[in-house]
Homo-oligomer: 379 residues x 4
């Protein structure tokens, strides 16, 4: 044993394994800004809602705008396949667990209708909200022109793993640089987890990068195909690429950690790991206003041959306002996410997100010990 190595393997970390170290200076939370920008759009809070059917409907996108964030509408989901999406949503919510994968496979086999793409975008725009839409690389050329013409402000091109170079027999690999030149809106691309891929994607001219493949411990992508990188390490690496790209070109790409964030603590850790913003699915699927009715599921669940994940009963935890801003009597970190972010900014002496990225982080596994109790400190 020993002798020559076949390959090096590096340790990677997830949210549960790290913690933030308070700063040398502290500030009052009310002095800190939580602003994020994507291209020329500024947002009061660094939070996007995931392009999942159970999370973002056109009306939820509008609500996210009112609360200061950005909801991303999935252009390949129920809303663009059905004139009346709510019947399909209700079918999913009421199906027995054993039949839900088959049902999802059936519901998502209905074709996407381009006129619904346009009307979804318009219904968001007419409320005055910033409109972000998501497509997969395969459908980008077909759906993007319709969406942008209808007024979409931000284009998200997303697949499980996205690289600047994709080889395919069935369709010509999407050249991001071309897409970006053609559409006049900022483009966010993902998902990505490593330094070199992030750098190559940034070189195509993107405005934002989604970070996260198989995030978190119970992630099905890791079980099924073994692929995935924990979010703290993935974010650290993509943030390093952003810094490098900025140093070379002067252009700043927004890094958005996408997936695996359940609490205010996770959100703060993502930013200390280098994120400019975060994208949340399940926490918003738990909002009273979410279209999923207390359930959540992903597009990979409807894969006809290799489904990954399933419909999850996430329950309803409060209004979107309570989830983002409180007040709350929940003490597990799942509500008042922005309040938590402000406290972390204060404890780290950070006046904004960019300064919070500079806070120190340690590796400190959170071992849950039953019945263990701790001193509950004062503010």
């Amino acid at each position: 044993m020993g002798a020559p190595f076949f390959k090096e393997i590096r340790r990677a970390y997830g949210f549960d394994e790290v913690a933030i170290v308070p700063g040398l200076v502290t500030i009052n939370p009310d002095m800190a800004s939580t602003q994020m920008t994507i291209g020329d759009h500024a947002f009061d809070i660094p939070v996007l809602a995931s392009a999942m059917d159970a999370v973002v409907s056109p009306s939820f996108a509008s609500l996210m705008h009112k609360k200061g964030g950005l909801g991303v509408l999935n252009l390949e989901g129920i809303y663009t396949r059905y004139q009346d999406p709510y019947t399909a949503l209700e079918e999913i919510a009421s199906a027995p667990q054993a039949e839900v994968t088959a049902l999802l496979q059936k519901i998502y086999s209905e074709p996407i209708q381009e006129h619904l793409v346009g009307s979804c975008v318009e219904s968001i725009k007419k409320t005055g909200a910033t409109c972000a839409v998501a497509v997969t690389p395969q459908n980008t050329k077909r759906l993007t022109p319709v969406a942008v013409e209808a007024g979409a402000d931000v284009l998200v091109i997303q697949s499980t793993v996205t690289t600047a170079r994709h080889v395919s027999r069935s369709y010509k690999g999407l050249i991001f640089a071309e897409v970006i030149q053609q559409v006049k809106v900022p483009v966010v691309v993902g998902n990505c987890v490593s330094y070199n891929t992030a750098l190559e994607l940034m070189e195509t001219g993107i405005s934002g990068l989604l970070v996260g493949v198989g995030p978190g411990a119970a992630c099905t992508t890791r079980e099924v195909v073994g692929v995935g990188v924990p979010q703290v390490t993935a974010t650290l690496d993509c943030a390093a690429a952003r810094e490098e790209y900025f140093k070379r070109t002067g252009k700043y790409v927004t890094v958005i950690t996408d997936g695996g964030i359940r609490t205010g603590g996770d959100l703060c850790k993502a930013i200390v790991a280098g994120a400019d913003g975060v994208m949340l699915g399940t926490p918003f699927a738990q909002a009273r206003e979410a279209p999923g009715g207390g359930f959540n599921w992903g597009m990979a669940n409807s894969h006809p041959e290799l489904p990954r994940g399933t419909r999850i009963n996430v329950g309803t935890r409060g209004t979107l306002k309570e989830i983002l801003y409180g007040p709350t009597s929940a003490t597990d970190g799942t509500q008042n996410l922005i309040g938590a972010l402000k406290v972390a900014l204060g404890m780290c002496g950070a006046f904004n997100i960019k300064e919070l990225q500079k806070a120190e982080m340690i590796i400190a596994p959170s071992i849950k010990t039953e019945g263990k109790i701790f001193q509950l400190a004062r503010d």
Copy 2:
């Protein structure tokens, strides 16, 4: 992946992950001293009771003095808000779990009455006990003069995260050097977890430093805002600052590990990590004489918008005397804490706390294996 790093992250350790290595010399426990000093006050045992309403009432503070330690009275809790605090304590103890956060929010919205500050201090002093009181930085200027005039011996200024430099819009940041010059009693400040912050706080002239932010695994501060450092690493770092400051100035600042200590083993490990003393909350909330009646809660639980933690049913485990000195038939380390400390002093050949700090420590995670049993050695 790989290439340049965004930031370094260091491994940190908690009590459950380390153990003490016996010494090259052993001594009989009865030859060892457990003394601790804060400023010019000496204490037989290196133990403080936390400034929590469920732990330290004026009469409990007096009892702690009789047993050789120091109870710290919270000047911003029930005892200074209510002429009759016991009705409020009973209300909290009897509230259903679902309503307790709202109740705490209501009870702690009652204003602090300065005349009760004075009478609390006096009631402790008239029993002959050393009187320590705790305030937050925000209320230090207002409450301290009243308390000191009434006879307080030790002033504790405590918030979740305390630094020598705090920036605030709503009140002028407290300058510790000024406070320390004005009050004539030793000042203990906290909480703090890192070398540089500890050093800066020591440079303001403090007599003692409280170590611990979000200690322990299940700590809510870590869940809610992601901030926290495990106690062994936090203590090691603050002790390093104490040594450095002593080398530079000849002044010795007492380092007190505060939070996350449940057993005699934890207490001993805190000292081997460099603490001069420890502050305990829950272990004393479990004393028959504790005012919480078998419950414990922290001030952060009553935060109107972002409560962290909740009321915990800690039960009653014995008298304060049994918890500190035994005898006991409990074998889980939660009783006879000082007996345990003496055994550790003996096993490490340490004649006092200062020598125990020099013992060797190893990283040795305690994996609980169900049904696992071990040889039970003899003394």
Copy 3:
């Protein structure tokens, strides 16, 4: 403590502790080949079925061939001890748990009949399938000639731990180089877990190497005798030996990770760790066509004095076709193993197994957190 070390101990990793990092380039899964070769035999998929009585009967071996893989028949099990093996199989399946070890001991004490060895091989060959048979070193000289004469195509010589140099009083240690010269078919040998042993075995002229001793967490060999190496590290080391041996001689030995693989994710990780193929037991014992009838057990279970492991109720999960190729509605990774492998090939931009071996791998423990849910990404 400290000072001179008695010995170095190196960290080793298992499947649950690592994950695969996506590539800089991605490809469409349908462009990737999953081919594996052993000697001059090529297989469509890099998968062998274990030489266990509950997994491979002559008819299951034939079915594996039809599906593109290779089933290995155990020449020292029930099929060569009983004219009617199915009665014995049914006895095992229906025995109460408390009596099963004794029953296995009794059933496996019946002598091996050489004429059954021949007829088993012939019954596989006449279906047109490639026929692989397994023997232990002790019985190699006696059983191999019969099997090869009857038409066996691949010879597997397997024991818990196999080295090129075995010292024995009771029988002359098997010299692999001699066996390999005599038999005209490719020889696969194992099991082995370390670089030097792998290299020595390769120097005897073998065509394939089985990797794995006490793989996985709950493995009984590790409990009973303390011996075992987790599969990722074992595979990395044996793959390093294969590279070294190829560099020296130009001969390529097929490295097959054997044991501990339960999901598509595990299979993909084995290959990224350097395997050319994998050998699966329990996943195939769960096939509707498996002879074990929903149970599995190993030969070590029938050891008369030191049984290791027991009969396990593995249940029936689907047809062999579903387990290998789907479609499936299972989302835990136990079905559509080849579909998963193809997705991993795509995500890593690998056109074949050899290229997938070059993918990056990270250490990322999968901590199962109850109730934790994650973003479910889209393809």
Copy 4:
């Protein structure tokens, strides 16, 4: 954070965190010797039974001799306090759990009777067995002469933590060098866990060293006083001291790992970590012939003020012969310990214990995953 360190902390390992790597050569188990020597006494198997009242009675000591090992009789337990020890044993076995600590405290407050010391030794000697007796340092001078005169062959001086230099006010610290010169039998001393202490103890002239303080995960000494070192690291360090001492002086001290060993796997790992032998308590308390009647407890449990551990219901698992040599149908490693040792010797190509000490060891945490099953390999 960061900057100067207060102290270094080294990672230590226990049995559950390591595994043995098979050797480059394998041998048939029947060619290997399991012999151990202590001073001029040779034993067929490297196994001692702990000086615990529930494990070794005079008749059990005699039985251990017949089986090739060595039972150590506790000279400060029930057998030397009561003419009729069996009544006390039965009282302990039948006491309700809540009252057992108090009962142990009462039973062990009865004084030791010197004439019973003599008669215990004689009753062992007259069966022809090698007689080993254990005393604490405090009672060594008083009890040793009686025991040696009665015929004791090996003297064990044991306390939780033993060093060559002990400082005491109440009795003059035992000088081992003096004791060793006076008694004419080999002396075994312990317990000890570190290199320097081991070396100092060896320099006093001892023949054997017991290794282990607070071994194992659930050990109460670690909970109560925080002191303890996992057994693999402790053994590695003490074995390093033995090698160093042998190099300097040519004298070989037997290193015996004491505590935390539950399975054949643990036993083998202790030896690969450098032990010449092991001392077992609970595995033998589970023997049908053990005096504890299915229970076990340690002397520390009867400490009047700080009990550590409690009476444990260990059950009865088989005869001593079955536990040591099988045959067994248990598959969890708790039976046929010597059979397991022989298999490990074979897998590592070791002809004796000394050669097994040279086997390679890896760090490989055994994560128990419910429902996980693995390939069960063949011998």
